[in-house]
């Protein structure tokens, strides 16, 4: 058994996408962990910010919601929602958003609204929040998912947040000239999207996970021809996550 948890592997796998200078949009849960880890480990000059308007907080303690008072202290600016979303979509900035979702399809479109019929749902979730906004406006979206067949679906019950829409250049034709789904980071591996068809493919499987297991847990066909094994977390990465990012183990 690996000496690290799914959440740890996921946070680090996602964090590795971040570069210095990126503006990182973080949500709650693993997304918060990944953003903080990215800044502390991979890209100290990245800026973590929240849709609520807290920009680059000091994060002495890990926040448990995007409106947590912990994201208001030590920021460079406490702005409002409109200003925050205008940052997400700002053409001068390279903004990467971490999202979670209940369902994803092969073009990286997301559902965080409802399972079943919209009007008479089987399960109602929180709704878009800012997810639809950042999916529309950011330079790229990285989504966290539990890798299960019922979550990786042919057709979403509800399309909350646009990824590559119907593939190809359909996203651009919608009126969304930039952005799109960059990756889906799951508890089994990392999925990316084909450069022109925009279909999901398996990019990395975690140590100890087989390609077959991922195929079995995906509700549509995925290209696995480019799959490689992901690098496991280093001891130093794990130390920082555990001791600096979330010592209270509120999310880990």
């Amino acid at each position: 058994m690996a000496a690290y948890t799914d959440n740890e592997m996921m946070a680090l796998a996602a964090g590795r996408f971040i570069r210095n200078g990126d503006i990182v949009f973080a949500g709650t849960g693993v997304s918060m962990l990944a953003a903080t880890a990215a800044k502390r480990i991979y890209a100290p000059k990245a800026v973590v910010f929240f849709e609520t308007g807290g920009i680059d907080p000091s994060l002495e303690e890990i926040p448990m919601a995007v409106a947590d008072p912990r994201i208001m202290y030590g920021t460079c600016l406490n702005s409002g929602l409109i200003e925050a979303f205008s940052i997400v979509g700002h053409r001068k900035l390279h903004t990467i958003a971490f999202l979670g979702a209940a369902q994803v399809d092969k073009y990286g479109n997301l559902n965080t609204t409802v399972i079943g019929d919209y009007h008479k749902p089987k399960t109602r979730f929180s709704g878009s929040g800012g997810a639809c906004d950042v999916a529309s406006l950011a330079s790229g979206v990285i989504t966290f998912m539990q890798h299960q067949k019922r979550r990786f679906v042919e057709k979403l019950d509800y399309l909350t947040s646009v990824g590559w829409y119907k593939g190809g250049d359909s996203r651009r034709r919608l009126g969304l000239p930039r952005g799109g789904a960059l990756a889906v980071v799951t508890n089994l591996g990392v999925m990316k999207f084909h450069e022109t068809t925009r279909e999901m493919y398996l990019a990395e499987y975690y140590p100890g996970i087989t390609v077959d297991k991922i195929v079995e847990n995906t509700g549509f066909l995925v290209d696995t021809s480019r799959a490689v094994e992901a690098a496991p977390p280093t001891p130093e990465e794990l130390r920082i996550l555990r001791e600096e990012v979330d010592p209270q183990k509120l999310i880990l």
């Binding site: 609520t52 448990m64 929040g129 800012g130 947040s161």
Partner: protein, 325 residues
């Protein structure tokens, strides 16, 4: 004339503020965001007064939303997000009400709702955005056509149109403005001149207040004119937008007020447990809302120990080392 002659005519009790300005069927915008600065004292009072058929217009809301829905005060909802962070990834009574078909609802996103309030505050009928193109937020309507004929409801959920300023095939979404009947909010400070100051994030509180017909502000403190006017760069809302002011210390409990107190994990965990069960939830409402006559009595039930635990460091703004599990 009271202690504060400049705002004497606006200083009300919770009972008066709700009784005077909130009616059955009112369209209401709530200040704050998920676990922070929910106007809870006002929400509890609305429940106690038995207001019905509220039409809530929200971006991301948590505790106040869930209490109002759970107590049966809400019949219609425009919303981006119902959640309370770790304590309720999806607000529990909100979830149940929708799954049981108890309320009419329609989904927007946070940016969209914020822009709709902003448009309302500017007195323009719509505002464009790129956010939401291609999503089911546009494609699926929640409200029935007959509702769309009402005065405070947009006649269409969205309009997708071409950008008229360039030749390309460039699409934008037009969002209808919102002008709620009432905006309720909780602030750290109101000056004795009626000026409102919020510390920390303001979310869409200002846009909501300026879009509404009536604004009710509860606050932690009423501070001297000389203090609030010394550095007006920090103020949030001029007096002439505010219709009612109620001084209610801990008026946002169990949600947080930056620099005053943190969210209350014990109470939110208690709530999480009871909200899952209809009977337990009813007992909770009886005990914590109907069973107390004032917010002061509610705070006595919360108890000093809990209030001390969540007391915020005035600089950091939260309770350092608070057990938040």
């Amino acid at each position: 004339m009271g202690m504060y002659p400049e705002i004497d005519d606006k200083l009300l009790s919770l009972e008066e503020a709700v009784g005077r300005f909130i009616k059955n069927g009112s369209q209401i915008a709530i200040g704050g965001f998920t676990v922070t600065r929910n106007p809870m004292a006002l929400a509890y009072e609305i429940v106690r007064q038995g207001i019905k058929d509220i039409h809530l217009v929200c971006h991301s809301h948590g505790q106040a939303l869930d209490i109002l829905i759970g107590a049966g005060c809400v019949s219609r909802l425009e919303i981006a997000y119902g959640g309370n962070g770790r304590y309720a990834p999806t607000c529990i009574r909100f979830k149940k009400a929708i799954q049981r078909g108890e309320i009419q609802f329609e989904d927007y996103s946070n940016y969209q709702m914020s822009l709709r309030f902003f448009a309302g505050s500017l007195g323009i009928p719509f505002i464009p955005t790129k956010s939401g193109l291609g999503s089911d937020l546009i494609d699926i309507e929640g409200f029935l056509p007959e509702i769309r004929k009402e005065e405070k409801v947009a006649s269409k959920k969205y309009v997708v149109t071409q950008n008229p300023f360039n030749g390309e095939d460039d699409k934008v979404l037009l969002l209808p403005a919102l002008n709620p009947d009432v905006a309720i909010m909780h602030a750290q400070y109101v000056g004795e001149d009626g000026t409102v100051r919020i510390k920390g994030l303001t979310f869409a509180d200002m846009e909501q207040a300026k879009s509404a017909d009536v604004v009710i502000v509860t606050c932690e403190e009423i501070v001297p004119r000389s203090f609030i006017r010394l550095d007006p760069d920090q103020n949030s809302l001029p007096p002439f937008f505010v219709d009612a002011i109620v001084k209610v210390p801990y008026g946002a409990h169990p949600t947080a007020v930056y620099t005053y107190y943190d969210y209350d994990p014990k109470h939110l965990n208690l709530y999480k447990k009871v909200a899952e069960d209809d009977k337990a939830f009813k007992v909770y409402l009886d005990e914590w809302v109907y069973g107390v006559r004032s917010h002061q009595e509610y705070l006595e039930k919360v108890g000093n120990t809990a209030l001390f635990q969540i007391k915020a460091n005035p600089i950091l703004g939260y309770a350092v080392g608070l057990d938040r599990k």
